[in-house]
Symmetry: C2
Subunit: 402 residues, 2 copies
């Protein structure tokens, strides 16, 4: 199977999460991704648990594996002049470079955009960093949690009156990886017309701001500073998670769906609410949250989540279980959509991957290659693209340049 | 300014959030986006608050505005045969269609992918839905909160032992919009080579699973079902938000950075921790969270967030304030990066937009057009692309077809 990026070659210098997530999405869509790591060391994600023990008794990082399928792995010491020259020779043939070092690092290696562009004006050079290549914080160390904190997303996630809460996934890194991927694909399309590459400067903090468009929109419209609401909606009720006999259920009745509200009143055993003046629309009900929330909670606790789904879904009321990760893994829809793919793995027996969610009708993406061992493809790539002979490669290995 | 998608025409049938977010990103990158709405009704987002009062005394939705710059607005009644024929004529000239109706709706209008593809085999047709076009839940109503619940993200967001928490932004919709944008751009690149379009089937639930790669990776590696941790890290301490004299501060010391830990011990007035056997690495410290968290909290409460930043940042310790939305808006880095752009607006005086986070060096994105009024460009688009004369358009308006 070949995806829509078949024929695109990506040199991937990135590590940990934001960059590798981007190059994973590119690889899933058919790009050839060559991951370039430091000899003997490699991507720090390789040392991050949990681990699987492979057939050689060696531990392989599941964290690394979840981000690095569909990539081949080469080691090059970029701080060595011969290493950086090898890299530039690869870059002169490549379509895309992705890196997420601290700003300035690639320039210190002599491998910044200006230098690569001299050898290859078609290169699309994507730099991802915590705060961007410019500005007062450009040099600060950035981690997902720091960016989540500074963007404001943490301040609107959590329960009212309680401490801020981090989004449970590394949304700061992942969102940056997604916007980077969009920029790269758009630049590839543009290059088909102009023949020219360009540089992309992606900041994790910028990207978090970009997904807070509604919170900022409210600030600028009314001066309102958004606050955390647990699972509640600011203007509709019932629109939140309620505990059931055996778990939690989300019920979401938007404004304007009064027929749904009436059905819900009957379902929870409170038909008298239908004509109650206090509860005539979503906004009025929200003003009465102190009355409604405990009463609905009491009713919901009497049945299991599945019993409520069986009752409410046929009424057309938007609802769903709050699944834990195991329950999600077993969900029939997620299984039907093949979002979790178990593949035979050369060294660990099998490996389950989260599949690509981009379903193309004619050029589907796919998982073709297992997560690579450090330097697994160094010989192959240096021979194929730089035509180095085995003796030359052996010398480079001995001198720890590759 | 022309972005990398200059020359790409998008017919946008989408409404509320996931689809409009996708077409906003496309428009920011220079695509011509023609938003097609139902005559007299329009995108439901137009009725969603908060509102700004314009110079004509009419309320304009800030919610709609935050998602619909860079789009022109046409009304067509797709359920009317003449309306659907007008749409097919536009579609025969377009590059991309984006829709996020309940699966089956476009087929009922006679405007499904098969039909459009007959007129225009180059069309890239992107359908976004809650659960995808196929599978047991395909027909269920989906809202962001329902998808967040079912994916598992809600189960790992929140405080330990307390209720699940919704991510404070509509990450279910927005992530789907981003993956859809990636797919569209990749398909556009592919079409340059094949000459053919294709269909994209994007499911909000699939996309949530895709950003939970780490949680699922842990499940498959060890059977561990991830749980919410507030702002804490599962394997490193200190790595969380602490209250200060006037707010909250995130401190994030990863494993392996023991020099940072030693500096931090001195900064919080506990130099004796440096040699304490219980605290020698990030994992050991995490086992002692019940000792360390209260002691660090007590120390952090003695100074303001800014005082801590002034102390810890020069030490190279990753840290940052937990900004609320107003504080984020005033942040010097976010301002330097021009992530919030105030533009003159024809009807409301001015309007502040969250800018595109994709910074291209040669073909920058931009905000060129204000959020449109319903049907603002119907005459212009029908004349320019379908060469209808004013009398014909007047008839279509009278008959409520446009």
């Amino acid at each position: 199977m070949v995806g829509p990026l078949n024929g695109v070659q990506v040199l991937d210098l990135s590590w940990i999460l934001s960059g590798p997530y981007c190059t994973m999405v590119l690889g899933d869509m058919g790009a050839e991704v060559i991951k370039v790591e430091r000899p003997g060391v490699g991507d720090g994600a390789r040392g991050t648990g949990p681990f699987l023990t492979n057939s050689e008794g060696v531990q392989e990082s599941a964290y690394f594996g979840s981000l690095n399928r569909n990539k081949s792995a080469v080691t090059i010491d970029l701080s060595h002049p011969e290493g950086s020259e090898l890299f530039l020779k690869l870059a002169s043939q490549a379509d895309v470079i992705v890196e997420n070092f601290t700003p300035g690092t690639m320039d210190r290696f002599g491998l910044g955009y200006v230098e690569v562009n001299k050898r290859n004006p078609r290169i699309i050079y994507c730099s991802i960093s915590g705060f961007g290549q410019t500005g007062p914080y450009a040099d600060r160390p950035a981690l997902d949690i720091v960016v989540q904190a500074m963007s404001g997303i943490m301040s609107i996630t959590g329960e009212p009156g309680r401490p801020p809460v981090r989004v449970g996934t590394s949304i700061g890194d992942i969102t940056a990886g997604l916007f980077a991927t969009i920029g790269i694909c758009a630049a590839l399309r543009e290059r088909e017309h102009s023949g020219l590459g360009q540089m992309l400067d992606i900041s994790m903090l910028d990207c978090q701001v970009a997904i807070l468009e509604n919170a900022f929109g409210r600030l600028f419209a009314t001066g309102e500073i958004a606050e955390p609401l647990g699972t509640r909606h600011p203007a509709a009720t019932p629109f939140q998670a309620f505990p059931t006999k055996d778990g939690w259920l989300v019920v979401a009745i938007f404004g304007g769906n009064e027929a749904q509200w009436h059905l819900f009143c009957v379902a929870v055993g409170h038909p008298e609410w239908i004509d109650d003046d206090r509860f005539q629309n979503a906004w009025d009900r929200t003003q009465q949250i102190d009355v409604l929330e405990p009463a609905i909670t009491e009713a919901m606790l009497c049945r299991t989540t599945q019993e409520w789904l069986d009752e409410l879904l046929p009424m057309g009321i938007p609802c769903g279980p709050v699944n834990n990760i195991r329950q999600a893994e077993q969900d029939p829809q997620i299984r039907h959509r093949k979002m979790l793919i178990t593949r035979k793995h050369e060294r660990t027996g099998e490996w389950t991957h989260v599949n690509t969610p981009i379903k193309f009708s004619r050029t589907p993406g796919s998982i073709r290659l297992d997560p690579p061992r450090l330097s697994e493809h160094t010989d192959e790539i240096l021979q194929r693209y730089l035509h180095l002979d085995p003796a030359e490669i052996a010398r480079l290995v001995t001198e720890k340049i590759v």
